[in-house]
Subunit: 275 residues, 2 copies
DNA sequence: TCAAAAGTGTTGAGTCTACACCCATGT
DNA sequence: ACATGGGTGTAGACTCAACACTTTTGA
């Protein structure tokens, strides 16, 4: 430490002569995989409504892949961190503040973008239906696509659909020395860039991180019924649970309120808060 | 999808006119937090040797911070992915192939490097003592520093030491909407750049990821005793375990061999393999 | 002989799962 | 009245921490 401090004036000289522009620099972007639980309407009397997990795609307004559906995202600016960039992009694109924003990984394959060397930092974002959108949304066409992500062995099938649009991606789960789950897209051209791979990685992270229920609350309003809570878990994990055991398991994470939901044609449900 | 395909020739025109150099681009580096279990020698008769967790630092040969200890790492090259860059750097610096290489996160604070806008992708690497170093090591001074990382409440203390050199960093654990554990360095100048923050994040990830024992095997040779296995877990997690229960818990992850370790002054220990 | 580590057995507390069962409601 | 979801109780299986105990060795 001492011999470094004695050289501070040399260091100043070095820095004033240093020109960062002389070195190779890639372009850096963020892409955001924004998740939302969409409530499907149907019979409301007696029956609870069903949920589905959806992800936000935007229609590209510019080349490359103009007109194709892709993840929202954009270039990193000079005066912001990567996290701030992700936050700004999702806010511009959806008009809402994301409840959470979690790093998914860095995607830097040489051929991932036809414009050249562009590195993407992917973020997982959760958008709550219970937070009102702000004004000032970008005028891009954005749609929530219902998502399914199933597997047989190492082969995964990602399906994004909204009305008549269906995007299907087949992926293979890889084991690498990089430990974290990684996927290889088997059928190219189904989703632009490497966005299929990014979404698959993000949904895997979402499922892994949901195990301690921490992320689950981000999909819920401040006060919720345990059935709503359970339904979000089931939707995300694509499993089904028994209510009796679920409510006991989560009891340590929630706190009763003295409010109830009535008018549903069955016994009123108590509202809970996060503990 | 269709209206995008009909525009392929427009897209070609766009791409041929596109000049990536016109846009802001940051410099991109990787920094590697390489961990190794160091066996401390002492009495060998009857007593098992003690382990300690250590991390690799290199003495900076260039400005800025010339002469200070820092994480190994370097700039991303044009023809490699971020992962390949991390792999190349750690190989050049230690002369060994890392057994694993796991992404820790992206560090992009505006003021993290005095040279200008430089984004670092941090990787956690595990170096096994049981893999022989290759030739062709860079001629930089590199040393393994013993690591301790304790906390009281939200305040964490990171200590790196080797012989007479002691580097101490005090950090605060943060709760953010970015979910993943993040730290803020409280006493600047103790470690150059934001390397204190990076190491704290990496050791937290190492401990979290060790819970399923997956990473633990990377510290071990192909065949090992259950006591050696337990000792690695204890060293990393900074806890102490009872052998009887440990061996039952890990039995599902390992497989017996018919070999034994003898000559230790007590009952021979059976060697196990990863299942 | 004996200290140290290797390894097995057991007990009691706690947790998890499946399922039976009652409660409260609005049409 | 009754179907539906809300909610509690409980028996048996399973898991886990603590600790007593036996085995094997080399100086």
């Amino acid at each position: 430490m001492e011999d470094y401090k004695s050289q501070l004036s040399d260091e100043k000289a070095f820095l004033s002569g240093y020109n960062i522009e002389e070195y190779d620099r890639p372009s850096v972007t963020t892409d955001i995989v924004a998740f939302r639980i969409r409530t499907e309407d149907g019979d409301t009397y007696r029956h609870n409504s069903k949920n589905s997990l959806s992800v936000l795609l935007v229609k590209r307004g510019e080349y490359p892949f103009k007109g194709a559906w892709a993840l929202p995202g954009g270039f990193l600016r000079k005066t912001e961190t990567v996290e701030e960039c992700a936050y700004r992009e999702i806010k511009e694109e959806t008009g809402v503040l994301p409840v959470s924003l979690m790093p998914v990984g860095v995607f830097s394959q040489l051929d991932r973008d036809p414009r050249g060397r562009i590195i993407s930092n992917a973020y997982l974002s959760i958008i709550s239906d219970f937070i009102k959108p702000e004004a000032g949304t970008d005028a891009v066409e954005a749609r929530w696509f219902n998502l399914s992500f199933d597997y047989e062995g190492d082969i995964y099938n990602l399906k994004l659909s909204d009305d008549d649009i269906v995007i299907s991606v087949k992926l293979k789960r890889l084991k690498t020395i990089f430990k974290k789950t990684d996927f290889e897209v088997m059928d190219k051209n189904s989703l632009v860039f490497d966005h299929g791979r990014i979404i698959a990685t993000a949904i895997t992270l979402l499922r892994d991180s949901s195990k301690d229920y921490d992320l689950i609350f981000d999909f819920l309003p401040e006060k919720f019924t345990l059935t709503a809570f359970q339904s979000v878990v089931e939707t995300i994990m694509n499993i089904s649970l028994t209510p009796a055991n679920f409510r006991r398991k989560v009891s340590e994470f929630v706190e009763e309120t003295d409010e109830f939901v009535t008018g549903a044609g069955h016994r009123p449900a108590k509202l809970f808060k996060r503990k």
